[in-house]
């Protein structure tokens, strides 16, 4: 990973020095080895803090809505999953594509620091990866963890590949994987209505309405959200009732249906670890099953399942009763 970071830094330096781009969007170092933040770099000096490692899980695409409107060209480093969001935002005319230079960077899955801490490791100073073994060093010594157990949820089932690139920095092949991203959704579908209700009631009761899921979501790019608009009648800053917990998440999931690229940022940022991706994945699974496989963000133009139709579409009542073809 260090070699990739070096290469990226070098390339960023060239682009800034030559004046080809006015800024580079990437990640900057934090206080620990696991808390980088998204950042823009406008000078070569600023690149000293540039970082790309196993903790750069944040999706940078949404920042480009604002940044691509700025004067001059912007170079951005995008992981495979980020490129889908990027395409989707280009499709929705939110990102000015001409102003952005996309550098596709390799991703070997990212780690969830909270999952590492849950394993009882604290005061972490660094990680080293060898196949599926992750050597975590801390002030208290070294521990070896099993990589699949400490991945960000969004990385657990990721099979994404770069959909956009003006150039690429890929030094290592990512091993092919065969995982079913709908496994959890299917598990829920197999439950009874009562069990599903109990599951979501318990999960959503944790929601503190911090809006992190919405604000990080690249598909949630409305200038003013209905839940922030006092004139909408549903604006709220807290869930004052159980109903409001559901209202927010149902409407949000529906609003991004057909546009959600399954980037998984919602689940990554939820402070209460609500499995929000299972809401979006239900829509994706239904869409795939009813209207043909569709992956939002694969194309930067064209219609989405909810802005198109066929005359022979399944009837809602049949879908509910499990009789749809």
């Amino acid at each position: 990973m260090k070699d990739v970071e070096m290469k990226m830094k070098e390339r960023a330096k060239q682009l800034l020095e030559s004046g080809e781009v006015a800024r580079v969007v990437g990640w900057k170092k934090g206080d620990f080895c696991y808390d980088p933040s998204p950042a823009t770099f406008e000078t070569v000096e600023e690149l000293d803090n540039f970082v790309y490692d196993y903790f750069c899980g944040a999706n940078l695409s949404k920042y480009l809505i604002q940044i691509s409107k700025k004067e001059g060209k912007t170079a951005v480093f995008l992981k495979p999953c980020d490129t889908y969001s990027f395409n989707q935002l280009v499709k929705e005319h939110r990102i000015n594509r001409e102003n952005v230079y996309v550098i596709a960077v390799e991703c070997m899955a990212k780690f969830d620091i909270e999952k590492i801490k849950e394993k009882g490791v604290s005061q972490i100073t660094g990680v080293e990866v060898k196949d599926k073994d992750v050597k975590v060093s801390s002030l208290y010594g070294e521990t070896t963890l099993y990589k699949p157990e400490i991945l960000l949820t969004k990385c657990e089932t990721c099979q994404k590949t770069h959909q956009v690139k003006d150039e690429e920095i890929i030094l290592h092949e990512r091993p092919e994987r065969d995982v079913d991203r709908f496994a959890e959704v299917k598990k829920l579908e197999a439950m009874t209505e009562d069990e599903r209700f109990a599951f979501w009631k318990e999960q959503l009761s944790k929601c503190i309405r911090c809006n992190a899921c919405r604000n990080v979501c690249p598909a949630c790019s409305c200038v003013k959200c209905v839940f922030d608009n006092p004139a909408s009648g549903v604006a709220a800053k807290a869930n004052d009732s159980e109903f409001e917990e559901k209202l927010f998440h149902v409407i949000r999931a529906f609003h991004v249906a057909g546009r959600c690229t399954d980037c998984g940022e919602c689940s990554r940022v939820c402070p209460q670890h609500i499995p929000l991706h299972l809401l979006n994945r239900k829509f994706i699974k239904d869409i795939d099953g009813l209207y043909g496989e569709f992956q939002a963000g694969e194309e930067a133009e064209g219609k989405t399942p909810l802005t198109s139709y066929t005359e022979g579409d399944a009837e809602p009542n049949d879908v509910l009763n499990g009789e749809a073809k």
Partner: protein
């Protein structure tokens, strides 16, 4: 002397029916003028086209105390705006399937196509839906207790 009854108060559900102006609402009209009955607890909300119904409308109806929500529009292919109900069909298929995924009883939501000439069908559809929801009972999973305060 007042008679003491141990009989439980019969549950009459609140039903919200979103009906498109051109077909289903006219169908309701025809049902009325043909003296066909449908339960009075069906509250019709007239919309220009079934595809005017935003998922928020459906949720709001439940919040405000609906026990069942039914959407009625022109038969696919007969939309006054040519394609509106095709979009409705996809949206509501996904929304209702999603609500069921969250544990909301699938009997509470329905989509039916009723043309202006189908007064009898309108009446039959409403009678059947009310019957189904009555058997299912009160909506407790997707309602806002604050609204019901004082009841």
């Amino acid at each position: 002397m007042q008679e003491v009854t141990t009989e439980k108060k019969e549950f009459t559900p609140n039903i919200v029916a979103f009906c498109c102006n051109w077909c289903s609402y006219a169908g309701a009209d025809l049902a009325g003028s043909s003296r066909l009955t449908y339960p009075a607890n069906v509250k019709i909300i007239r919309v220009p086209c079934s595809c005017r119904v935003n998922p928020m409308f459906v949720l709001k109806a439940f919040q405000q105390g609906a026990d069942g929500v039914i959407l009625c529009g022109c038969h696919p292919g007969d939309c006054h705006y040519v394609t509106g109900n095709y979009y409705t069909r996809r949206r509501m298929a996904l929304l209702f399937s999603f609500l069921n995924y969250m544990g909301i009883e699938k009997e509470r939501t329905r989509v039916e196509w009723v043309s202006a000439a189908e007064g009898a069908r309108f009446s039959a559809v409403m009678n059947d839906f009310v019957k189904t929801v009555t058997e299912l009972g009160e909506n407790k999973r997707l309602t806002d207790l604050r609204v019901k305060e004082g009841e």
